[in-house]
Every structure is written in structure tokens, then in C-alpha cells.
């Protein structure tokens, strides 16, 4: 059963000059936790806004729970939960008032669906008389999720829910999502953080409005072909410049305390050549090792591929 389906969806802004979503096709199954992973400006929010019927696509069709986003927008609006990237609840209403307002707007009440939001709401319940504007970032996000869930939607759209939230809250948030998934709710989430990608069932990597790849996180990692090395020395910045100047280098970028490097001949081990080259350049404390690629490596690799194709 598919929950969300996009067929060749295109969206352009500024009189057709800026292409935000470029011929995107993908489908999300029922009960899946699907991640839309890509940098800022990749078109993630536009896709969300099309699926939540806030934005009309310029081309292609999209359905949510089998309903067309253009024709059946009324049905969709009653069945989806949407949490926009920006906190957009009434800051001058209290936690409780916000929640009961959105409940009544959907023709339900807090009591009716309390079970669904209990886990999340219980954490902010001590502050229910506090105005939403006075909550901390993590609590705002919990309130927004509660409000998006209060009418028991069958699918949840979360647009960058963890942007600007501390590491602990982010972890908590993903745990909440997992629990929601167990209740059979389809969740579509977008994030610019590659490390969150592994927490999804399936992910779509997106760049400049185009889908680069759709697969499970491990499938994406597997599809990375060739070897990847982590390398460090005492002068990291110089190391980066030197490595990028190295004739066999395909790509080199910072990754934590190491630089990740791949070579043009992808399966060949260049360890010797690199060490010699760096020695000649006067680097000390050089350390190089082979690593298994992360999602981020795959993403950068695909972007590189796109560039070399173009």
C-alpha cells in the first residue's frame, strides 16, 4: 500500500526561472518512516507544501492516501498532520489553548485522541498554562508535534523538525517518531542532517530539486562503490588544499577530525602515493586509513557524479 506518491512533480518559482522541484517521482509506503535528505534549498519544503496542498505543482501529479493533492485537497487537509519548518503556533496562546484550538478546528477534542499524544504531551503538560512563545526550542517542537497529531492523522509531514534543536532533544524526537511509527502512522520527515538519515526506513537524497537516489540507508551505503579513506595530519587546512591538488584525487572534504578522500581510480589503493606526496609537501603526523562510507559520503559522491555528468 502506498501512502504518498509523486509522479514527475515540478514546481517553479519567479516566473519559471527558479526550479525548486524538478521532475520528482517517488512513493512512500503505508507505515513507513521516510526521510527526505538534502541541503538547504534542495526543494524539500516545496515538496512538503505540495503534499500538504499548500502549494500547487506546475507539473506532474501527486497523491496522499490515494487522494489527489489538487482535486481532493479538502479530504487531504482533514487527514494529514503537518509541522512546518518554522514554529507556527500561536505564541500568545498557552500550550493547552493551542492544542485545544487545533483539536476543535479539526472537529475533535484533546480527550478523544489523548492516547496518541500522551507520550509527547506528558513532557510539556507541566507547562500547559505557559504561553507557547515562552517555551524552549525543544518544548515548542513537542507542542507542534502534539498539535499536528491531535486529529489522529494517518500521515505526518514533518519539515525539518530538528533544525535548531539541541542534540539531546533531537535524539528524543527521533525516538518519539519511532513510537508513532509503531502506531501505524506514515511519517515523512525532511532534514539537512545526514546522521539522522540512518534512523529512517528509507531515504531520498535530494539536491537542487532533483532526487539523486531513493533507497534504505544501508542500501545507499552499499551502492557506494570504490574505496574511501580517512586521513589526518598536523596541519589540516594545508592538508585539504594539498590533497585537492593531488593528481589522483576525486574528492576530498572535511569529516569530523579527518578528511575523507576518494580517488579517481576508485578501487585502487593509493595509500603509498599519498604518503609520499604528503611527505614531499612537508606534512607531519600523517595518518591514513580505509573507512566504510556514511550517508554523507554517498551524498557528496552522488553530487560529484552529477557535476561530472553535466
Amino acid at each position: 500500500m502506498t501512502s504518498v506518491e509523486l509522479n514527475n512533480v515540478t514546481k517553479k518559482y519567479d516566473k519559471e526561472k527558479v526550479v525548486a522541484v524538478d521532475d520528482v517521482s517517488l512513493s512512500v509506503s503505508k507505515g513507513e518512516l521516510f526521510g527526505l535528505i538534502g541541503p538547504d534549498g534542495a526543494g524539500k519544503s516545496s515538496i512538503f507544501r505540495i503534499l500538504t496542498t499548500l502549494l500547487l505543482p506546475d507539473g506532474g501529479t501527486a497523491t496522499v492516501e490515494g487522494y489527489d493533492v489538487v482535486k481532493d485537497y479538502k479530504t487531504i487537509r482533514g487527514n494529514v498532520g503537518y509541522m512546518p519548518g518554522r514554529f507556527s503556533l500561536y505564541q500568545d496562546l498557552t500550550v493547552e489553548e493551542n492544542l485545544s484550538f487545533f483539536a476543535t478546528v479539526f472537529g475533535t477534542s484533546i480527550e478523544e485522541n489523548y492516547e496518541l499524544i500522551k507520550d509527547i504531551y506528558i513532557q510539556i503538560e507541566p507547562f500547559k498554562k505557559r504561553r507557547a512563545g515562552k517555551l524552549s526550542g525543544g518544548m515548542k517542537q513537542k507542542l507542534a508535534l502534539s498539535c499536528a497529531l491531535i486529529h489522529k492523522p494517518s500521515i505526518l509531514f514533518l519539515d525539518e523538525p530538528t533544525t535548531g534543536v539541541d542534540a539531546v532533544s533531537r535524539k528524543e524526537f527521533w525516538e518519539m517518531l519511532k513510537r508513532l511509527k509503531q502506531q501505524g502512522i506514515t511519517i515523512m520527515v525532511s532534514t539537512p542532517y545526514m546522521d539522522e538519515a540512518t534512523l529512517c526506513d528509507r531515504i531520498a537524497l535530494i539536491q537542487s530539486g532533483k532526487i539523486l537516489s531513493v533507497d534504505t540507508p544501508s542500501g545507499i551505503v552499499k551502492s557506494y562503490h570504490g574505496k574511501l579513506f580517512a586521513i589526518k595530519s598536523d596541519a589540516m587546512y594545508k592538508l585539504m588544499n594539498d590533497l585537492r591538488a593531488f593528481e589522483h584525487t576525486r574528492s576530498c572534504f572535511a569529516f569530523g577530525e579527518y578528511h575523507h578522500i576518494s580517488f579517481k581510480e576508485r578501487d585502487k589503493d593509493y595509500t603509498e602515493e599519498v604518503l609520499n606526496y604528503l611527505q614531499a609537501k612537508g606534512h607531519t603526523g600523517v595518518e591514513i586509513k580505509s573507512v566504510t562510507p556514511a550517508i554523507e559520503d554517498c551524498f557528496i559522491d552522488m553530487v560529484e557524479e552529477k557535476k561530472s555528468e553535466a
Partner: protein
């Protein structure tokens, strides 16, 4: 209906929590109505006079004291030459210079006629016209006084004379406040209804809550009605407050029916709120909404007949006033409050405002989209 009730509940909660908005709604009408009418006064007083008396006779003395006893003039200075008096005008120390020629008394007695020279600073047109008007009537009066002294009155007037007396209706004391207060009140209601309504909707756009509302199944008619009604109620409240102020601070008691005033107000508010709504659908930020509203409010205000009579405007400006809702409200206010006009007298105004309300609201609702 249930949805609408909750929307209204939410809206009022927000209004009562916004201390600034409350202050504006309560304080602005009180302050403006208590201060503005005192300042908006066309009665020209304190015209300063520079006097060049070349005669220094008892007649010229009498003439000068007659001028000052009228109460409209204040004394700037006596100068020995017109050149000095002109300098006073140039330095804005005097509005009018009067030159009384040498031999004023002698010629007046001997030759039965004399000339007085007036120089008027016409930068402020109203002051110049009104000032010379006052002076002219004082001079005429003085003239007839002298004639009475010198010419033996016949039993019948030799030359037939028509004396004009006028009686002022509806505002017998020509009290400007009677005229201004109802107009200012109309303006205030427009300001509060129109601007605040548009700002409120745009604020939802600005902080993003409208996104959240748009994904809900709320029908847009309900959402819009939920926005209009609170401001409709608040503007009616301000109007009531204003009527009370004009009753107790200025003693203005509407001659006509209060019910008629409120009936017109309720139709009028839908037109004004519709305009606010329309502005909000065209702007994305409160700043944009504010500048558009400000533009319209300025035009409405200056072309409403609040300060200057519409009858004296050029033809093209008159055409603009035909599309100015404020103009109709001010007219109705003045007609009902001062003249006691009945529904029959203002039915045309009702019709025009009703049409405006329909057009503006339809336009706004069509232009308000939950989807972009």
C-alpha cells in the same frame, strides 16, 4: 458554527492578551477626541496687527481702539513708517499692517472721504481672508458711526438700504466642535477597523500560523468571518465610547436616531473591514500592510470633507470622493447628529456603502487563497 465560535474565542483571547492593542483601542479614541477637536478650529483669532499711524488724531485713535476691542486682533507694534511695518510682516511678527495716512481726521471731516491702506500676509490664506473680512466689517461699522455723528439723520433714509441678517441653523453658535467631533469619530472608527483588521491577518502570515490554519479543514469563509467579527465588535465599541465622549465632553446629543447611526455603522464597518481584508490578501508583511493602509487612510482623510468642504474641490477630486467610504460616513454622522436626518435622507449613503461592502468583501474572499 462551532468552528466559528472557537475561532472567535481564540481571536478575543489574543486581543485581550495584547496589552498594546487594548491600549490603542481604548486610548486612541479618548485622546484624539478630547484633543483634536480643540485644535481643528477654523475660527481665526489672534491676528497680529502692525499699525502705522501718520495722523495721531483722536479719530485715528478711536479707529484703532475699535479694531482691538473686537477681540480678534492682537497688537504687534506701532511703527513710524510702512517700511518698518512691512519688515514686521516679513519676520512673521505681524499678519496685517494698517497704514493710516496723515490728515486722516482732517480729510475725513472736511472732504468726507479718506483711504486706509492694508497690507496682508497671505501665506496662510484662511487667516488672510478671514482677517481682512473682520477688518472690512469693522471699518464699515466705524464709517457708519461717523456718518451718524456728522450727518443729520433724515426721518426716512435717503438711500434705500438692505440690511442682511442671517440665522444659523443646526449649529446656531457656529461651534466648530459640533461639526468636527462627529467627523473625527467617523475617521477613528475607520482607522481602528480597517488598519487593525488587515494587520491582524498579515501577522498570522508573518509568524507562519496561517500555514498551520491552511492545512486544517477550516472553510475560508469561516476563517475570514472569524477575523472580521472581532474587529467589527471592537470598532462598534470604540464608536460607542466616542459617542459618550462627545455627549459628556462636548454636549453633543445626536438630533436624529441613534439606531440609524448604529445601523449605518454596521454596514459601514463591513465595507471598511472588507478593505482591510483586501489589503491583507495583497501584503505579506505587516509593514507592507501598514504602508498600503496608510496611503489609503491619508487619501480618505483628506478627501472626505472632514476639513475642507467637498463642494469646493475640483471636479476630479469630487469623483474620487464618490469612492471614498469615509466621506459617506462623515456625511451621515453630521446629518444625523446635527440635523436629525432620517433614514430617507441617508438612504443613498446606505446603498453606496452596502455596495462597497459587497464588492470589497467579495474581492477579498476571492483573492484570499489557502493555496499558493
Amino acid at each position: 458554527m462551532r468552528t466559528l465560535r472557537f475561532l472567535l474565542q481564540k481571536e478575543f483571547r489574543q486581543v485581550f492578551r495584547d496589552k498594546n492593542l487594548l491600549r490603542q483601542i481604548l486610548m486612541v479614541p479618548i485622546i484624539q477626541l478630547l484633543i483634536f477637536p480643540w485644535a481643528a478650529n477654523y475660527e481665526v483669532k489672534n491676528i497680529s496687527l502692525a499699525i502705522v499711524d501718520h495722523d495721531h488724531s483722536s479719530y485715528s485713535e478711536k479707529f484703532i481702539s475699535k479694531i482691538f476691542s473686537s477681540g480678534y486682533f492682537i497688537h504687534s507694534d506701532y511703527t513710524s513708517s510702512f517700511k518698518d511695518a512691512y519688515q514686521l510682516i516679513e519676520r512673521d511678527k505681524a499678519d496685517i499692517a494698517i497704514e493710516i495716512p496723515q490728515g486722516f481726521e482732517k480729510n475725513l471731516v472736511r472732504e468726507n472721504q479718506q483711504k486706509i491702506f492694508l497690507a496682508v500676509n497671505a501665506i496662510n490664506g484662511v487667516k488672510a481672508i478671514v482677517g481682512t473680512g473682520y477688518l472690512a466689517s469693522i471699518i464699515t461699522d466705524y464709517n457708519s458711526q461717523i456718518r451718524a455723528e456728522w450727518v443729520q439723520a433724515d426721518r426716512f433714509n435717503a438711500a434705500p438700504a438692505i440690511e442682511i441678517t442671517s440665522s444659523n441653523w443646526f449649529n446656531p453658535l457656529l461651534n466648530y466642535k459640533m461639526f468636527m467631533v462627529p467627523g473625527i469619530l467617523a475617521f477613528l472608527v475607520t482607522l481602528i477597523g480597517g488598519i487593525m483588521c488587515s494587520l491582524n491577518i498579515v501577522r498570522e502570515k508573518e509568524i507562519g500560523t496561517i500555514e498551520q490554519i491552511n492545512v486544517t479543514p477550516i472553510r475560508k469563509q469561516y476563517f475570514i468571518l472569524g477575523k472580521l467579527l472581532p474587529f467589527w465588535i471592537m470598532a462598534t465599541f470604540v464608536f460607542t465610547l466616542g459617542l459618550l465622549i462627545s455627549r459628556f465632553a462636548y454636549g453633543i446629543i445626536p438630533q436624529g436616531s441613534i439606531v440609524l447611526l448604529y445601523a449605518f455603522l454596521s454596514v459601514y464597518l463591513f465595507a471598511v473591514l472588507g478593505m482591510g481584508l483586501l489589503i491583507s490578501t495583497y501584503s505579506d508583511t505587516q509593514q507592507q500592510a501598514m504602508s498600503i493602509s496608510f496611503f489609503f487612510i491619508m487619501v480618505f482623510n483628506l478627501l472626505s470633507g472632514l476639513y475642507t468642504p467637498i463642494e469646493s474641490m475640483p471636479a476630479w477630486a469630487k469623483v474620487i470622493t464618490d469612492f471614498n467610504p469615509l466621506r459617506y460616513f462623515i456625511e451621515v454622522m453630521r446629518m444625523v447628529v446635527l440635523k436629525g436626518s432620517s433614514f430617507h435622507d441617508v438612504s443613498h449613503h446606505f446603498l453606496v456603502i452596502f455596495l462597497m461592502a459587497v464588492v470589497l468583501n467579495t474581492w477579498a474572499i476571492l483573492n484570499y487563497r489557502k493555496t499558493t
